[in-house]
């Protein structure tokens, strides 16, 4: 079972990464990269890095890639010649899949059992990561905030037309 999951998602990650290179329009490359990041998060779960798997989806696929897609759409790149008609049939797949996902999440939330809370934390739990982050790696963690601030100011300076 683990092997099947590994091979499937390893193939998805590699295929999506290749697809990033093959696609002509960069927007499709970005969307393909999102698929790769999601497959990587499953591989993280297989490696018992639960926290990183969640962070991978929320921060990487959710925040960083949104930035990419936003900029690509903002620039309105010229080589996009295909009209929206080509994607018309997708709604026949997308709507049932969306409903399926909704009911899947609903059923999972409905059936969730309250945890006992006494299980020993394993390698990649948020508890273990948080403890390491705020004890052994406190200084790098704080320097990170400085890095983010510098990146924020730098991005504003670069992107602004004239200061």
């Amino acid at each position: 079972m683990i092997q099947i999951l590994f091979f499937f998602f390893a193939a998805v990650a590699a295929g999506a990464a290749i697809n990033v290179l093959v696609q002509k329009h960069v927007l499709y490359s970005a969307l393909s990269l999102i698929l790769m990041l999601t497959a990587m998060s499953v591989l993280f779960i297989l490696l018992r890095a639960d926290f990183l798997a969640v962070i991978q989806v929320i921060v990487y696929a959710g925040a960083i890639m949104v930035l990419f897609v936003f900029v690509i759409m903002l620039l309105n790149l010229p080589e996009d010649e295909d009209g929206a008609d080509r994607l018309r049939w997708l709604k026949f797949i997308g709507i049932p899949l969306g409903l399926f996902f909704f009911f899947l999440v609903g059923a999972t939330v409905w059936n969730v059992e309250p945890g006992s809370g006494t299980q020993a934390p394993f390698v990649g739990s948020p508890q273990a990561i948080g403890r390491a982050l705020f004890t052994d790696y406190l200084l790098p963690f704080e320097v990170t905030s400085l890095l983010i601030l510098i990146a924020l100011v730098g991005a504003v300076v670069f992107a602004k037309k004239d200061l």
Binding site: I2, Q3, F6, A10, A13, A14, A17, I18, V20, L21, V26, S29, A30, L33, M36, L37, M40, L43, F44, L46, L47, R48, A49, F51, L52, I55, Q56, V59, Y60, A63, I64, L67, F68, V71, I72, L74, L75, L77, V123, G124, A128, I129, A132, L133, D136, Y137, P140, T144, L147, I148, I150, A151, L152, G154, A155, V156, V157, F158, A159, K161
Partner: protein, 100 residues
Amino acid sequence: MIPASWYLILSAALFLIGVLGFFLKRNIIALLLSVEIMLNAVNLTFVVFSDQHRQISGQIFVFFVLVVAAAEAAVGLALVIAMFRNRESLNVDRSNLLKW
């Protein structure tokens, strides 16, 4: 269990794909996406060794790589916007003012 070598092979393959993309593509956003692929390949290596050695440090490093990737994406995309505004093109071959 999956042997660690399989994960490392996958990671190496992903890194190779990223390097190939970085050298073959000419669109600057595609270059940034290739860098993201490479960063993810390295992240996978960190997590594999973290699992292998039963140490949390590897996953902490992935956390920091994630932060650096976010900063890099923000600054890089700001540069892309500035470049597009000045040249109306994202082709890196067009930006050759400093080329001898």
